[in-house]
Symmetry: C2
Subunit: 170 residues, 2 copies
DNA sequence: GCATTTAAGTCAGTGTTATTGACATATATG
DNA sequence: CATATATGTCAATAACACTGACTTAAATGC
C-alpha cells in the first residue's frame, strides 16, 4: 500500500486520482459481474447445470444455427471443455444439432422449446437487473457504460457484441 | 428465438429495442469481463496461482489489515475455499497475518513486499486496459460507466466499492 | 466465573469448469 | 488423392468451489 500510493503520486501530474479511479473501476467490474451472475447461477443449480451451461444456452439462443467452432471462439475455452457441457445440454434436450446442408461437417446448434424456456428464465433475471440499473442511470449514462465496456473488450472481438438496430431511449 | 422476439414485441410500447439493448449489455459485460481477467490469469499461471489468488491479493492490497471474515464477505465464498488460497499465499510469503491487538481472535492481513510486487504486476495490466478504455471514451462516458455498474451491484454492497476522493478528470 | 458467541482454522468428501495431449472420423477442397 | 477442416472422444490433471462436521482460542454477556 505504501508502494502503491508512492506510485500514484509520481505519475503524470494532472491525474493524481488515476490510480484510485482505475482501482475503483476494477472493483466495480468485479462486484457487478459477481452479482450479475449470482441469481442465474442459483437457478442453474436446480438443473444440475453451471455457468458454462448458461453461456452455451445464451449464445445459442442469441445466434440460432451457430456452429461449434464459432461458439468456441466466443467462449474462448477448449473443445473438450465445451464438449462436456454441450453434450449434457443435447442429451437433456435443451439444445439440438442439425448438420449444415452445404457443409456436412458443420453442426448447427439451436435451442429446443425447453432450451428457450430455460434461456428466458435465466436471462430475464439478469435483464431485469440491468434494466433497473439502466432506468436509474438514464440514457446518457447507458451510452457511456456501453462505450467504456466496448473499449475494454479486445479489439478483434468488439464486433462480436450484438448491436441493437437503433440507439437507446431509456 | 421465435419466442424471444414475440416477447419483445409485446412489451411496453415506447421501448421496442429493450430486449436487444439489454442483451447487448449482457454480452458487453461477458466479453469485457472475459478480456479484463485474461491477461492477469496468464501471469498467474507462472506462479501456479489462479484468479482466486489474485482476488485475495487485490483486496488485501486495497484494504491492508482486512480480517479474514471481511474478506469472506467481499468474495462471497466459503471459509474452506478461502482457506486453501490464503494458506498458499501465506505459505509463499505473499501475504502475512498479524493478530489484532485489541481482539486477539482477529487475524489482520497484509501484503508482503513480494505480495505488493505481484499485486502491481497483475493490477497494472488491468489498469492499463481500463485506462485505455477511459481515455478513448472520455470523462462523461466514464461517469456513465460507473453509474450503471454501481446500479448492477447489490444495493447492500455498493458502499464496498472504493470511492476516489474527487470526481474524474480523464 | 461460567455459558455463550465469535473468529479462525481444519478434515473429509464432492462437483464444476477448465486445462493439455493424443487420436479418430467424416467431409470438403486443391 | 493428399491435405485441411470440423467435430468428437479418451485420459489425466488442476483450480475453484461446495456441504458438513468439528476444533481452538478469545471475547462477551449475565
Amino acid at each position: 500500500m505504501a508502494d502503491s500510493s508512492f506510485r500514484a503520486k509520481h505519475r503524470a501530474n494532472p491525474l493524481f486520482l488515476r490510480d484510485a479511479e482505475l482501482r475503483q473501476a476494477m472493483e466495480l467490474l468485479f462486484f457487478a459481474y459477481r452479482d450479475f451472475t449470482q441469481e442465474a447461477d442459483a437457478i442453474l443449480t436446480d438443473y444440475s447445470f453451471g455457468r458454462a451451461h448458461h453461456r452455451v444456452i445464451y449464445f445459442v439462443g442469441a445466434n440460432p444455427g451457430i456452429t461449434v467452432s464459432e461458439l468456441l471462439q466466443i467462449l474462448k475455452i477448449t473443445k473438450q471443455s465445451l464438449s462436456r457441457v454441450l453434450g449434457e445440454l443435447i442429451n437433456d434436450s435443451f439444445v439440438h444439432q442439425r448438420t449444415d446442408k452445404a457443409d456436412r461437417r458443420r453442426r448447427r446448434l439451436y435451442l429446443t422449446a425447453k432450451g428457450a424456456d430455460l434461456e428466458r428464465l435465466l436471462t430475464d433475471r439478469q435483464s431485469q437487473r440491468v434494466a433497473g440499473a439502466f432506468r436509474a442511470a438514464g440514457a446518457e449514462a447507458v451510452e457511456g457504460f456501453r462505450t467504456v465496456l466496448r473499449g475494454i473488450i479486445n479489439e478483434e472481438d468488439r464486433q462480436r457484441v450484438a448491436r441493437p438496430a437503433r440507439p437507446t431511449a431509456v
